[in-house]
């Protein structure tokens, strides 16, 4: 910590020895996984200091993923929003089209060092599944991806992409047949195949060390953005805005700014059909703390602790939990969490497409939508970074259908 005013953050910045961010995080898993998580934690601790690992990781990010991604000033969008300066961190330009690849490359290199022969992953929208299948193809490892049956239908193109890169997609029929249940199945597989399998979790969720490890692999986004904005404007931004499902793109861009108190960090959740309905994913906005998928964090649950289904027009935000470090940021006030609904997100999707010729993922559209929503309250002098976590190609069909339905009515 550089100065006194940052001290209060320390607890929020690094987990304790058992992976707790304040009361959040930890390891709530079957005993069989405890030795495996300890092994993973140790392997990760070693590679963090290993110059060869860092070099290899950086080289792949540069030559294969296409980093650094540009920080692009969206002038027409800024003008449309009252003259503020808006910068887009272009994670949509990475190989496979979303930030997810940063983490899967990091974890696959780690898995290789640990001598694991088989990779498993869960996926909701399919972006993390595609990024994992891609990384596995790159390293020549066997890959199986769990995906809720409903999602395999909604995101058929991503299923095909995974299969093209040599992965096997396993449809999940348990529970709600979506992301939450795909994670359950992946954990069950891992419990049963601990010796040769590494589980690549796609977000800053799950038991320790995943939340901190995935954050570290994703924080390349924020490190680049911080340097880039300083180079262009000579100072730090007033605000950093990112969408939050599990929260990996948000944590990736927030984390390097966490100790810059003057930078407001804003996470945008999916309000779906409205936070006062049963159909949303606004975990931090209206949820309560509990345990899901091995970690203590905010959740959508009923009074008896049963996990509720989530909803969003953006499949990547459709998750009833959230990363534990976001929960800690929420409670400490370091970041603010807000929610925008499906309608607003669709308007954000359209706005960016029309003003900049960039079609954003529906997930990232939530961040754009929130900026649009608060623009009237801004002075017009602010500098804002929006993390454009992914591109919208995968969503074009969904959106076309929605617009078609409307014009039919």
């Amino acid at each position: 910590m550089k100065n006194n005013k940052n001290r209060g953050l320390k607890a929020g910045c690094q987990p304790d020895r058992k992976g707790h961010f304040g009361i959040f995080g930890g390891r709530y898993v079957p005993e069989t996984l405890m030795p495996v998580l300890a092994e993973l934690e140790e392997a990760y601790r070693q590679v963090r200091r290993d110059a060869d690992f860092k070099r290899e990781f950086a080289a792949i990010l540069k030559n294969y993923v296409g980093r650094p991604t540009p920080l692009y000033e969206a002038r027409r969008l800024g003008d449309a929003l009252g003259g503020i300066r808006v910068f887009l961190k272009r994670e949509d330009l990475t190989h496979t089209g979303a930030h997810k690849i940063n983490n899967t490359i990091g974890q696959i290199l780690l898995a290789k060092r640990m001598g694991k022969k088989r990779i498993i992953a869960e996926t909701g929208a399919g972006q993390h599944g595609v990024a994992t299948a891609t990384a596995a193809a790159l390293m020549g490892l066997k890959c199986e991806v769990y995906m809720g049956r409903k999602d395999t239908v909604r995101q058929a193109m991503n299923v095909f992409r995974m299969e093209l890169t040599g992965a096997t997609v396993i449809p999940v029929d348990s529970g709600t047949k979506t992301l939450k249940d795909a994670i359950n199945e992946a954990i069950r597989d891992w419990v049963s195949n601990v010796s040769d399998t590494h589980y690549i979790i796609g977000s800053v969720v799950g038991p320790h060390p995943y939340p901190a490890m995935v954050r570290d692999f994703q924080s390349v986004i924020g490190r680049e953005a911080r340097q880039q904005i300083k180079k262009v404007t000579g100072s730090l931004p007033d605000m950093v805005i990112a969408c939050v499902g599990g929260g990996s793109n948000a944590m990736g861009i927030f984390y390097p700014f966490a100790c810059d108190q003057e930078v407001r960090l804003i996470g945008v959740e999916a309000a779906g059909e409205g936070v006062d309905t049963e159909h949303h994913s606004a975990t931090l906005t209206v949820g309560s703390p509990g345990v899901l998928h091995g970690t203590m964090s905010y959740l959508l649950q009923d009074k008896w602790g049963q996990i509720k289904g989530a909803h969003s027009v953006a499949p990547g935000l459709d998750y009833p939990g959230v990363g534990p470090e976001h929960s800690a940021f929420r409670d400490s006030g370091r970041a603010q969490y807000v929610a925008v609904d499906d309608e607003e997100a669709l308007r954000g999707f359209r706005l960016l497409s029309e003003t900049e010729g960039i079609i954003p993922a529906l997930e990232s559209s939530h961040a754009i939508a929130y900026l649009k929503k608060i623009a009237p309250e801004l002075s017009g002098k602010e500098t804002v970074i929006v993390n454009l976590s992914g591109r919208g190609d995968k969503d074009v069909e969904t959106v076309a259908e929605i617009f078609r339905d409307r014009s039919a009515k």
């Binding site: 058992k18 930890g26 390891r27 709530y28 898993v29 079957p30 005993e31 069989t32 405890m34 030795p35 495996v36 348990s174 529970g175 939450k180 249940d181 359950n184 954990i187 069950r188 419990v191 049963s192 601990v194 010796s195 509990g290 345990v291 899901l292 998928h293 091995g294 959740l299 649950q301 009074k303 008896w304 602790g305 049963q306 996990i307």
Partner: protein, 274 residues
């Protein structure tokens, strides 16, 4: 001493292995669960595990997941389970252990859960997603209410950790037979007996073995090396086979209770041979 300790010391004197069946509370309804508990006791069960259903049971295979879903259709929760146990306590003194995931327990409130469970007549808890590292608060509340919190050890648990778990575990130690999830298996790992003997050398507490055990032959073999044998999915499967589907969900078909009773009888006989 609570009922669990008394049961194991009684059996130990006789050189007998405990038979521990598992059923999910409210699968397919509470009335059936109550009848099953009494029938299983009559047929020789020494302790009964009662599952508290959870929406995301990540240590369970398809059989118990399905049972959990059926129970949730009936809106089974901790309060319903405690009320059922209170009623059962007027009729039976068999040790009853609640098996459930930590989130429903946390949402109920750790201290209130321990108090209400004890008052109803629950003797112990098994919380598969609450390892020793996170169990402090619950272990304390359980202890203060004379509830045995039973921890699990797995075949891949290192010795040093196994000793810590054995020390923290009350009532008995739950040895997980396979690195995997619950569910009936026809083949158990060949190194299982050796693993069990190893745990028993590290502790003087009773050790019960569970996960995957489904046949009298397996029970007989394991009775030679374990203080207790736990059978879950194989029993739940019998309930499942007898289910009648109706508009609102499921009900127990004729013969459910007697078929489970017969199966439990066979398992108990197998423990006596081992």
């Amino acid at each position: 001493m609570n009922r669990i300790d008394r049961m194991f010391s009684r059996l130990r004197k006789r050189g007998e292995t405990a038979l521990i069946p598992f059923i999910t509370t409210g699968d397919p309804d509470v009335v059936t669960t109550e009848a099953l508990v009494l029938e299983m006791e009559r047929q020789g069960a020494d302790l009964i595990e009662l599952g508290l259903p959870f929406s995301d049971p990540l240590a369970d295979g398809p059989t118990i997941q399905a049972a959990s879903n059926r129970a949730l259709l009936n809106e089974i929760n901790a309060e319903v389970l405690f009320n059922m146990v209170s009623r059962l306590r007027e009729k039976t003194d068999i040790p009853l252990v609640l098996m459930g995931y930590c989130n429903p327990l946390f949402q109920y409130g750790v201290e209130k859960f321990a108090r209400d469970a004890a008052e109803a007549g629950i003797d112990g808890t098994i919380i598969p997603d609450l390892p020793i590292d996170e169990a402090g608060e619950w272990a304390k509340a359980a202890r203060e209410n004379n509830i045995c919190n039973i921890f699990l050890v797995a075949p891949n648990t290192p010795d040093a950790r196994m000793k810590k778990i054995a020390k923290a575990s009350k009532g008995f130690i739950y040895y997980v037979s396979v690195t995997g999830i619950t569910g009936a298996r026809s083949d158990l790992p060949p190194e299982l007996s050796e693993g069990l003997s190893h745990v028993r050398n590290l502790t003087s507490k009773p050790v019960a073995v569970g996960f995957g055990i489904s046949e009298p032959g397996q029970v007989e073999m394991l009775s030679a090396v374990a203080d207790g044998v736990i059978v879950g999915s194989a029993i739940v499967r019998i309930i499942e086979e007898h289910l009648i589907e109706n508009e609102n969900g499921y009900s127990a078909g004729p013969g459910t209770v007697s078929s489970v009773g017969e199966f439990v009888h066979g398992l108990k006989q197998a423990t006596l041979k081992g």
